[in-house]
Symmetry: D2
C-alpha cells in the first residue's frame, strides 16, 4: 500500500493573525483527523501565513467532501486561499522539450520507476529528436514546430493540449522557447522552468558561456515558476557544483546536466507533493 | 531591541496521539499568545511527538509563570516532557579545551561578537596553552591537569565548577580526554563534543590519519551529545568537505578545522535556541 | 570532430626520483608532441610517482606505434608501469545489475546521449526486470540467475562474457551479489562498484537502514574498485547530501539514488578517461 | 622543521607552445632540483600557459640566486612572466576593515595559530571598533577615518603605509569603502576583497538584502582581486550555503559570516602559496 493512501493534504495561505494554527489543528482534531505532518510559516515582511498539513481521517471522521465543506466555513472569514486534496492524487503533467534531452529523460525515468508522484500526460516539442524515447515510454509525443511567425499558433496548439489532457502543470524541461507574456500569465503558478544557471546570475541565453567568461568557481541550476519576466519568476529550488579554470564551456555543460536533473526533479516533486506555496515573487517550500 | 525579547520558547516531547498540535496551539490562542514559529515532528518508528514553538504573549495574556502553571495541567495527562523559557534566556556554558585552540577561539569570537546566544561562564583545560586568549576575553581560565591516576579528582573538580557556575551546558571544544562513564551519564543531554570525523567513520583517536589511510575523497566533522559510548552519542550536526590524493594528513587537519568550527558552533547555537530534542539515540533538530 | 581525436593519453606509475617530469616531457617534445594536459603526483608516503598526460603528435612526429616503442626504452630502466592509448579509444564496458535500475538507466542514458566515453557491450543480471530498457537501447541482455549453489557457474558464465566481448571494465550498477574472492581478484582494477553509503561508514547490507538507525545528518555514496574485502576496495569517488530527522529510510533511499547516479557515472568517466591510477589501497584521481 | 623549508616555488605565465614543460622540468633536472609538486595549464581560449612548480635543490645544485639568473636566460626568449621565491617566504599583508570584525578576527586567529603563511604588518580602518583585538595581537592599528571629501588623502595615507611596511598584499576584510579607480589600478593583482554574495549575483551594496528580496535558495561569498570595476575583478574563490524561506536577512548575514571567513582565508592562503595566477579577467588557481 502506498504511504500516502488514505491521507489528505491541506494547504493554506492567508493574512497572519493569532490563533491560526489552533483553528486549523483544532478543526482537524474535532473531525477526528490525525496530523501526520504539519509545517507553517508566518512571513514577518508580508504578514502572510502559510501552512501545509498532511492528515489521516479516522473511522469517526466525516467524508472528505464533508470535511472540505465544513473547512470552507472556517476559511472564509480568515480570507484563506486553501485546498484539500487526497495525498495520493497525482498532478497531471505535460512536459515540453526542445533538442536537449537529459531533463526529459531523467523525469520520465523517475516517473516510470515510480519515484515521481505525477501522471505524465504527454510531451510536446518544437523538434522531433525526443520522439523515440517518449514513445518508448508509451506517451503521446506532439511535434509542434515554431517560428517567429507561428509562435501564437504554436502556443495555442499546446495550450489546447493542456486543456484536453487536463494538465495541472507544464514543465519546461529544457524547452528553449520564451513563452509569450500572455501564455506565461495564463499558466501562472502552473508552469515550472529549469534555467541552467544559478539565478539571478546569467539570465537569458547561453548561461554556461557567460559563467565561463566571468570565471566563476561554482556553477548552478535553478527551477522557477514561469512569469512574463524572463528568468525572473519565483525560485523553487537551486543547486550548485564547483568548477575551476580547467573547465571548458563543454565541461560546464556536462557538470550542469546533473544539476539540472536534480533541481528540476526536486521542484516537480515539491510541486506534486504540494510543498510549494507562492509568496509574492518568492516561494515558501516546506521540504 | 533583541528579536527574541518578550518571546518564549516551548519545547515538548511526548507519546504521539491525535490532537496534540490542536491542544498546544489552542492553549496558546486561549491565552492570547501569538505563535511566531512552530515546528513539530511525529516519529513513526518510536511513536513519539516533538514540538518547538516560539510565542509572544500579548497584553491580554497572563504572566509567564501563570501560563506555565496552567500548561502543566494540560501536559500531565499527555505525559509530556516540556519546558517554557524566555527566548532571550541564554544557557550558561562552560567550555573545555586541550591544546588545539581553533574551536575555542571560534566560539569565543562568536560569543564576544554577539552572534552566539550563550553566556560563557569559563573555560577549563588540562593544559595552559589557551590561558591567554581566554583571559583576554575576561573569562576565568581553570587549569586542571590530568593523569590516569588523577582522572577522578580532575573530573570532580570541573563538575564542581559546573555546579558553582550554574552551567547548563559543557562544550568539549577539542578537549582530548575521554570522560568517565559516570561523568558522561551525569551530564547526559548537557554535554556536546566535536569529533573530527564524519561519524560513524573513524571513531576514536586520530581520525584524520584514519581518513588519510583509507583514501576517502570527503572528510567531515560531527557534533554530538556525549554518552558513555565513545563517539556514539546522538548526532546533532555534521558537515563535510572534499579532499583528494594530494591532501596530506596535515592538509586534512587544516581543512577539518573550518568544518569543526562551523559544526560545533551550529550545534551549540541549536542547543541554545532549544532546537535540539533527544529521540533515543538520535536527535530531532528543528533548524 | 571529437575534441579527443588525434590525441593520446599517457599514464605512468613508477618509483619517484629526480627528473621524471623532465624525462617524460622531454621525450614528448623530442618527438614533436604538444602536451594538452598534464598532471603528476609524487606520493611522499609510498615514494611513488604518478602521471597522466594528454598529448597531440604533429606532422613531424613518428607514428604512435613508433612513439610507444621508443617510450618503452625510456620506461624500462625507470621501472615504469605505463600505457599510451588514443584519447578517443573508448573502454568496452559490461554492466551488471539486479532489480534496482536507476544506476543502469542513468549510465545507459549518458552513454546513448554521447556523454560517456565508453562502449557498452552488454548487460547481465540475476533478474529479468531490466531486460526491457536494455533491449530498447539495442544492447544484449544476459539473464544469469544465481543461487548459493550456482554462484561459481554463474560467475564463470559472465566471466566468459567478459572474454568474449573483450570488456575492459565491469561496472556493478547496483548488482546485489558479492563477488567470490577469486573473481574479485581476477578483475582487480577492472571492476567498479557503487556502494550506497559514505564508506567506510555502513559497510555491508542495508546501508540506508544503518544510516537511519544511527541518526546521521548527511548520507553518501561511494564508487570503488572491487577487491576481495567487502566494500574495502580503493575509493574512486564519493558524494554526500544532507538529511534530517524527518527522512524515513525510504526518503534516504530516494535522496541516495541521485548520489549513486552521479558518483558512479563520474567514476566510470574518470576510468574511461584514464584519470584513475591505483596507489596501493588508495587511488590517485587526476580530475 | 617547516615542510616548506629549503624548497622554492616557481611560477610562470607565457604564450603556449610545444615543449614548455620539457624546458622547465629539464632545466630543474639539469640543476639537480627535485620537483615536489607541479601543476600546469594551457588555456585553449587565450593560448597562454601557466605553471607552478615546487622544487627542492640538492647538494649538487647551484645557489638559488644562480638558478634564478640561469632561468632568466631560458625564460626571456619564451616571453615568460616568472618568479622563483623561497617556499617559506611569507607575503607581507596589510589588512583593512571597517566595523564588522569576523573576517579580520578569523584571519588574525589563523595567522596567530600558525595556520596562515603570511606576515601581517598591520591593520587600518575607517573606524575604531577593531582596535582592541588588533592590539591584543600586538599589531599596529591605524585609524584612518574617511569622508567623501577626504577620500583621496585617506587613500594616500594607507598607500603610504603599504610602502613603509613593504606590504605585498592588501586584504579588504569587510572594508566597506570602494577604492578609487586610481588606487585599484595601483594595487592591481595585490589587493583581495571579500564580497558577501555569490558574484556576479548581487553586486554592490547590501547583497544579503538583495538575496532575501529575490528569494534565492542558496547564498554565497566571493573573494576576488580588486579592479576599478566594482565587484568585477577576477574571482579567486567562492563558496555557498543553502537557505530557505525562513531565513531573514539577519539569518542570511549569520550564515554568510562563515562563508566569508572560509572563502577569504582560502583566497589569501592560495595567494600566499602562489597558487593564483591571473589570466585576463579570470584566474588560474592551482589548488
Amino acid at each position: 500500500m502506498s504511504p500516502t493512501a488514505g491521507k489528505y493534504i491541506l494547504t493554506i495561505s492567508c493574512p497572519d493573525t493569532t490563533g491560526l494554527v489552533a483553528t486549523v489543528s483544532g478543526f482537524l482534531r474535532d473531525h477526528a483527523c490525525f496530523i501526520d505532518e504539519s509545517s507553517q510559516y508566518g512571513d514577518p515582511a508580508t504578514q502572510r501565513f502559510f501552512m501545509r498539513a498532511v492528515f489521516t481521517p479516522s473511522a469517526a471522521s466525516p467524508s472528505a467532501e464533508e470535511i472540505g465543506k465544513r473547512f470552507a466555513a472556517v476559511a472564509r472569514p480568515l480570507d484563506m486561499t486553501w485546498d484539500i486534496v487526497p495525498a495520493d492524487r497525482r498532478p497531471r503533467v505535460l512536459i515540453a522539450v526542445s533538442k536537449i534531452g537529459h531533463c526529459l529523460h531523467d523525469l520520465l525515468h523517475r516517473w516510470q520507476a515510480g519515484q515521481m508522484p505525477i501522471d505524465v500526460v504527454g510531451v510536446f516539442s518544437n523538434h522531433e529528436d525526443m520522439r523515440s524515447i517518449v514513445e518508448w515510454h508509451r506517451l503521446p509525443f506532439h511535434y509542434l514546430p515554431i517560428t517567429a511567425a507561428t509562435k501564437e499558433t504554436q502556443e495555442a496548439a499546446w495550450l489546447n493540449l493542456v486543456d484536453k489532457t487536463g494538465a495541472d502543470l507544464v514543465v519546461l524541461a529544457r524547452y528553449m522557447q520564451v513563452l509569450s507574456p500572455k501564455t506565461a500569465k495564463l499558466l501562472s503558478g502552473r508552469c515550472i522552468n529549469i534555467h541552467h544557471s544559478f539565478l539571478p546570475s546569467f539570465m537569458g541565453a547561453k548561461p554556461y558561456q557567460q559563467a565561463y567568461a566571468r570565471g566563476v568557481k561554482i556553477i548552478g541550476a535553478t527551477a522557477h515558476f514561469v512569469t512574463d519576466g524572463l528568468d525572473e519568476g519565483p525560485i523553487i529550488e537551486q543547486a550548485v557544483e564547483r568548477v575551476d579554470h580547467t573547465h571548458s564551456v563543454a565541461d560546464m555543460v556536462a557538470v550542469g546536466r546533473d544539476l539540472e536533473n536534480v533541481v528540476l526533479s526536486r521542484a516537480v516533486r515539491y510541486y506534486a507533493e504540494r510543498r510549494v506555496l507562492q509568496n509574492g515573487q518568492k516561494t515558501v517550500v516546506f521540504r
